[in-house]
């Protein structure tokens, strides 16, 4: 079974802090994704990566950056957290090139920025 794990289920940070969200997958997937999920807005793609050190912006990249130094790990970075970044963050991975592969999601990190 594919397993996608995220470093924290719940996280509370203060405005202006630098925040790291970590995601690890154990099935040698090439593609990894970061989404945020907000009530009434569904899942919105922040960034994705299709290979080590490769990344592309999603629909809402502002205020975020990412890092993928190893194939199994994809990090989301909030450079200076703001209250409007309070949300559920979901990481996902998929097998290989293209969108025809199902995405496997992690359990999510609920981030609260005070």
């Amino acid at each position: 079974d594919v397993k996608v794990t995220q470093s924290s289920r719940y996280l509370v940070k203060r405005t202006g802090e630098k925040v790291f969200l970590e995601c690890v997958q154990d099935m040698d997937h090439e593609n990894m994704f970061w989404y945020r999920q907000d009530p009434g807005l569904g899942l919105r793609l922040i960034y994705f990566s299709y290979d080590v050190k490769m990344k592309e912006k999603g629909d809402i990249p502002e205020g975020y950056s990412v890092s993928r130094e190893k194939k199994e790990r994809f990090s989301l970075i909030l450079e200076s957290a703001s209250t409007n970044q309070t949300s559920m963050y979901l990481c996902a991975s998929s097998l290989s090139w293209g969108s025809y592969n199902e995405q496997f999601f992690g359990p999510g990190t609920r981030l609260t920025v005070l």
């Binding site: 989404y35 807005l41 569904g42 994705f48 592309e56 979901l90 995405q103 359990p107």
Partner: protein, 113 residues
């Protein structure tokens, strides 16, 4: 940007009633996937449709992809309390990024036992 519209946003049914959620895109989709998210859980892949007019079934669930590949539906026959959750469609617009799926906002299904 590209949007995938999903309706209804909410649906409450009595156990045993049928349920349908619809997904619509203004542009042609290369493929569409459906996911289910249980309350407190994360999205889990259900199925993928790729061909025009494709129909797939999983027990009480029937998935359809429109002939023009611009719409899709998920129909649940005789709902059960285990069907509770949010159902998302996700599609890749033809000619769009090879990696990126656009998710609908989801339909939250609640079932009264």
């Amino acid at each position: 940007g590209q949007q995938v519209m999903q309706i209804p946003q909410y649906q409450h049914v009595q156990e045993g009633e049928d349920f349908t959620t619809y997904c619509n895109s203004s542009t042609t989709l290369s493929n569409i996937q459906w996911y289910k998210q249980r309350p407190g859980g994360h999205p889990v892949f259900l199925i993928q449709l790729v061909k025009s007019g494709e129909v797939k079934k999983q027990k009480r669930l029937t998935f359809q992809f429109g002939e023009a590949k611009k719409n899709s539906s998920l129909h649940i026959t005789a709902t059960q309390t285990t069907d509770v959750g949010t159902y998302f469609c996700a599609g890749r617009p033809s000619g769009g990024s090879n990696y990126k799926l656009t998710f609908g906002k989801g339909t939250l299904l609640t079932v009264n036992p």
